[in-house]
Symmetry: C2
Subunit: 299 residues, 2 copies
């Protein structure tokens, strides 16, 4: 029996922040690290997926490979970076042939090569890791911290399809689950938006939770209007969809009067910081609890 | 019950090689990837450590953190790179406070900052990953592939202390186990050697196995003489020490007549490729089996 962790994810990340941090780590409070090297800005991110937590035993490992890569590329998209390559931290399993098929599909789709990694044998549920390296296409590289009072808040695509996809898969309903199994990283959108945005991040843990993080990083208050959010779910599921993760859309702010370079929906406003960092339909949201996933990305 | 893997580590890595590889991946047959960016060469490596495989349940997690970082920095050392930062793929455990202490110690020792990573909760034995990023100090960046007939073969430090340290720890003998628990990455040595060497790698999986890999990558035959190897073990353990990993010394080749810039021991010669890639005391070694660890780094 494995003893329970003594620290939660956020306590651990807070402790990490007391170690020497690279300036490009952005205080472990952004989607990716940004390293200036050779006159360019390199963008680096690492995300893991654990069996039993981020995917279920028996999941199609081709889908797991797709999501492992796409979720990391989504962090590059949030920086307006173009991918250079990935390093895979792989634990061998009974279904590696399917994993390799999915890996080939996602890398071919995004035209991203393998740079390296490590393959090991280990017992029990697997933890798979991926490091994605990208090259910034615009500097300064967008961060979560640049939103200004008076800006408008936008999101790409639609919100909620990943939630419905998860439920379809869980319930075996036969409905389309591809939005959950095979999310798309908004790389082209991120590159188009990078020169325009004052702040940008990807929506991985839920629109409200991620909006709160952007507000806190920027030291502003974000107001989100439910009626403006482009949902892909029935009306009675909108409340849940605001709190569900895995959409991998881009959330960003633009100065007043600037239209986004790619299709996106205005969902709210940026105001000077009030007591609450996030308002939903003018109601202050108390804190992160209940707003969405809290995976604990220490990035 | 987790089904057994259907592919071994080397079959998986061979399959990975059929996916699109970055030219800097060096065919997944080197210690690290090398990416040209701007006017610099970035060196990137990722290694994992699994509980029950690379460390035992109950191990001091400060030692595990040290080794996780040092083993990755050793890959940078083999490229003559200076570290830029690390990204940690962490799985929470009951002993994270000790892990953080060891992480602080090793990062402070090498003056390497945290760039980012990911922290997750997961059940069962943990797999911890680390990505280390470095900047090459000399170009071309040393590889395993450049040894030439007529070169001499060298190794830094001594061979075998990690084996004795592992045994001391395993047997509770009270003898010094630090070489096993807290290996040193030869960063300064790698930087000093990079302009001189024709080929270089770190000794992580055993002197003989790693020498075989260097020979195969360089398409030469290496001859190692046991009597020349600088052992740190009793005479009756030399045979084992040649096949044990975890020393993290540097193995490298220099043109005839060139003295290494740092202390190192000549242990053999490089000849044009014969039938066997590796000779030990003039006896051909048949293949990798029985020569050392085969962890399956896909780098």
């Amino acid at each position: 029996m494995t003893p329970a962790p003594t620290m939660g994810e956020f306590a651990f990340i807070d402790a990490l922040r007391t170690l020497p941090l690279h300036p490009g780590a952005r205080g472990l409070a952004d989607d990716a690290a940004v390293v200036e090297i050779g006159g360019e800005s390199l963008v680096i991110t690492h995300d893991s997926m654990a069996e039993g937590v981020h995917f279920l035993p028996g999941a199609d490992m081709a889908d797991v490979a797709w999501k492992l890569v796409a979720s990391n590329l989504s962090d590059l998209a949030a920086k307006g970076a173009e991918p250079v390559g990935v390093l895979l931290g792989h634990v061998l399993g009974s279904d590696d042939a399917r994993f390799l098929e999915g890996l080939d599909e996602v890398l071919s789709h995004y035209n991203v090569p393998v740079l390296g990694g490590d393959t090991i044998a280990a017992a029990g549920p697997r933890t798979l890791g991926l490091t994605a390296i990208g090259r910034a296409t615009h500097r300064p590289v967008p961060s979560r911290a640049g939103a200004q009072a008076g800006d408008a808040l936008f999101v790409t695509g639609e919100i909620g399809a990943a939630m419905l996809g998860f439920e379809a898969l869980r319930d075996g309903s036969g409905a389309d689950s591809s939005a959950y199994r095979r999310p798309m990283a908004r790389l082209a959108e991120g590159i188009a938006l990078a020169p325009q945005v004052t702040a940008m991040m990807d929506v991985s843990d839920g629109l409200l939770l991620d909006a709160l993080r952007l507000a806190e990083a920027s030291k502003v208050t974000l107001s989100v209007e439910t009626a403006l959010v482009p949902f892909d779910v029935p009306a009675d599921r909108r409340r849940d969809a605001l709190r569900w993760g895995d959409d991998y859309e881009l959330l960003f702010t633009l100065p007043a009067g600037i239209e986004p370079a790619i299709p996106a929906t205005r969902i709210g406003n940026v105001d000077a910081r009030k007591k609450a960092a996030l308002l939903l339909d003018a109601v202050p949201m108390p804190g992160p609890e209940g707003l969405g996933y809290r995976h604990g990305n220490n990035k």
